[in-house]
């Protein structure tokens, strides 16, 4: 097997909690990402799902090097980029680009679309010739389905879906090796979401993009991703190929997530759902042992003392659980994606 494009090992990010205004004392830490390891192969789409505060966006920002990791290692094309600085970091940033969630606040309203999409060239001092840069920007606009004649328009003249296309064009400008999309459609209307998802899938196929796709919507992730990692309180609890994970989720948390998704088909609503109780605990003070044990319907004494390792339990996914779900249980809790 060839070397993965991205290799993340034991990545940790703790945000310090301080008390005092002038003399700040550290009184604890929010353990946003707490020992996460995964690979992203060239040409694949890795989905990261989880609820608010699970650390999925922090993981993306760490890979982007927008945040400094507390510890751990991020290899990009075999080189450790975790602590790169200056010109070397700038060179890596050319290869990793990001699509943001909100197409309204992520575009400068005072700049024309042409200069927004051309900005990466300016930053990296590429295509100095104005005519050449304009031609390239217009080619990008065409790639993402925007009319190249709208080069001189401003973001407010575009709808939400078109703005997200502008964001995609800007991210593609430098032909990055890795594209990170953080909730790229959650701010869009239903009919517009499909336009952007289709665009991303089409670009993925045409350009062979490697994509890290972060979302809370499990249907969208299933549609987009080859492999999926499920995060809970800063840890990956289950990871595996799309089909295996959606068909036979082994971690009770994955099962609960999949059972909670409302499905647009009233004929499927035979069995009464039993939603997961409680709330996500604070990442500043995560539960001992398995972090999910406080909400887990299958928790035993062992779960509160010993943290389970992320291992293969024989169904194609890696799962961090002492007592993974069985087929019968998956059917019982009403996982709608199971065959």
């Amino acid at each position: 097997m060839s070397e993965p494009l991205v290799r993340v090992r034991e990545l940790v990010k703790h945000f310090p909690l301080t008390r005092g205004i002038i003399i700040q004392r550290k009184i604890g830490a929010v353990r946003a990402v707490d020992g996460v390891s995964f690979d992203i192969e060239r040409g694949e789409t890795l989905g990261i799902v989880g609820e608010t505060g699970c650390g999925k966006s922090t993981t993306a920002k760490l890979v982007m090097r927008l945040l400094e990791a507390t510890s751990g290692e991020i290899d990009f094309e075999g080189n450790d980029i975790t602590r790169l600085k200056g010109a070397a970091l700038k060179a890596v940033r050319r290869e990793v680009q990001m699509i943001f969630q909100d197409p309204y606040s992520s575009l400068n309203p005072r700049k024309t679309v042409g200069s927004i999409i051309g900005e990466p060239f300016a930053i990296h001092k590429l295509l100095g010739d104005k005519g050449e840069r304009k031609r390239e920007v217009q080619r990008l606009m065409e790639t993402v389905g925007l009319n190249p004649e709208h080069y001189n328009r401003y973001p407010h003249e575009f709808s939400g879906g078109q703005r997200q296309r502008i964001g995609v064009a800007r991210a593609l400008a430098l032909s990055p090796k890795l594209l990170i999309a953080d909730e790229p459609v959650s701010a869009l209307d239903v009919s517009i979401q499909a336009q952007v998802l289709n665009l991303l899938r089409d670009l993925q196929r045409r350009l062979g993009l490697t994509l890290m796709f972060i979302a809370h919507d499990l249907s969208v992730v299933r549609h987009m991703c080859d492999r999926v990692a499920v995060m809970y309180l800063g840890k990956i609890v289950e990871m595996g190929p799309n089909e295996a994970l959606y068909d036979f989720p082994r971690h009770p948390y994955t099962g609960a997530l999949l059972a909670a998704v409302p499905v647009a088909d009233p004929s499927l609503h035979g069995n009464q759902r039993r939603p997961l109780g409680g709330d996500v605990p604070s990442p500043a003070n995560p539960p001992s042992g398995c972090r999910f044990h406080t909400r887990c319907p299958k928790a035993q004494a062992l779960c509160s003392t010993q943290e389970p390792a992320l291992v293969d339990k024989g169904s194609g996914t890696l799962v961090a659980c002492h007592y993974p779900l069985t087929r019968e249980e998956v059917a019982q809790i009403g996982v709608r994606s199971a065959r």
Partner: protein, 362 residues
């Protein structure tokens, strides 16, 4: 002209007739709601589905009289237990609002006052409509927090909103809405800001409370999954109008309006084939100031014929399905054949080519 065959006989609790809400603006008159009619019976749930700017929120704010101060021009009737809420004087409306009719909003953080304890806000909601002592109201507040599943309610009643998580805040909002055992609960995107497991908790809570208290629910959402789970009847709104209404089962099994098809085909399904491409609705929702002529959906409709730009379709019963209404100019046979094709995975172009005879351009 709404509700489904399964709806119970007798007078509906709420009956909205030809409601029209317009806002004057610098750019012209905004036609937010354009003559909609629907009804809800006690113990039933109506789902109103639409995208941003379809008028779904304005219509329910108007039910509570909350658009009056914004200078809205309102016509039509909103009959709640026989009283017309459109013409009701403000004081009488205030007696109904938060009492017989309550509302839950999308964002629980901005709907709670950050500087008052949750208990104080609940007590206020109770005492606004009931002549009870503070102690009694406080006991009721604790009871309500317990009812919506907040652990240790006697302690948490003295906490501030910021001490509650998002899901817990939404529970507080529901507790506040239920304070006076409303007959009608209007829930505007009640779970949009919440995570899926919390969403499932809140939806299950609303269903349980409906069973226990027998209230009618109007749930407004853009999420087809949520209406499929919750609603007995569904109304689909587009550009200020209801374009289709049917029972939930029928709306998902045999939808008739091209916009409804578009919505159903543009969401990835958790149980659908993964390789299937999504079919987005082309274009963008229209401006409510200068709406398209004829059928408002025609500029985005793949099946539109030239005369659809001239003729405005009324909401009419589907042949042989008196409780299913649709506002579409296509022939019923053509519509049915198109949906058969679309459901089998055809693109709109393929479906159109399959459906014979092709309609000659006018």
């Amino acid at each position: 002209m709404s509700a489904a065959a399964s709806s119970p006989p007798g007078e509906p609790l709420l009956r909205v007739e030809e409601l029209r809400v317009e806002f004057p603006s610098e750019d012209g008159l905004v036609h937010a709601v354009d003559g909609i009619t629907y009804q809800v019976h006690s113990g039933r749930t109506l789902g109103i589905v639409g995208e941003s700017g379809s008028g779904k929120t304005v219509s329910s704010l108007t039910t509570l009289g909350l658009t009056r101060r914004q200078g809205a021009r309102i016509s039509g009737r909103i009959l709640f237990e026989g009283q017309d809420l459109v013409t009701l004087p403000e004081e009488q409306l205030r007696a109904i609002r938060g009492n017989d009719v309550a509302m839950i909003f999308q964002d629980p953080l901005s709907s709670l006052h950050p500087l008052y304890k949750v208990g104080k806000q609940l007590i206020e909601a109770v005492r606004a409509h009931r002549d009870v002592s503070k102690a009694q109201a406080r006991a009721r507040a604790v009871e309500l927090l317990g009812l919506v599943g907040i652990p240790d309610p006697a302690r948490r009643v003295d906490e501030y909103p910021h001490e509650f998580s998002g899901g817990m805040r939404q529970r507080v909002m529901i507790a506040m809405a239920l304070a006076n055992e409303p007959k009608l609960l209007i829930a505007d995107e009640p779970t949009t800001a919440l995570d899926v497991t919390v969403q499932a908790q809140i939806l299950a809570l609303m269903e349980r409370l409906q069973r226990e208290l027998g209230m009618a629910i109007v749930i407004i959402t853009h999420d087809l999954g949520v209406v499929a789970e919750m609603a007995d009847d569904i109304a689909v709104m587009y550009a200020g109008r209801i374009v289709e209404t049917a029972s939930a089962a029928r709306m998902f099994a045999a939808p008739e309006h091209p916009y409804t098809w578009g919505l159903l085909r543009s969401i990835p399904r958790l149980n659908g084939p993964r390789e299937e491409d999504l079919v987005p609705i082309p274009g963008t929702p229209p401006s409510l100031i200068s709406r398209p002529s004829g059928c408002h959906f025609h500029p985005r409709c793949p099946y539109a014929q030239p005369d659809h730009a001239r003729i405005d379709p009324p909401l009419e019963p589907v042949p042989d399905e008196p409780s299913h209404h649709v506002a579409c100019l296509l022939e019923p046979d053509v519509r049915r054949n198109l949906w058969v094709q679309l459901r089998a995975g055809s693109t709109p172009e393929q479906a159109l080519a399959e459906v014979e005879p092709p309609v000659a351009p006018a």
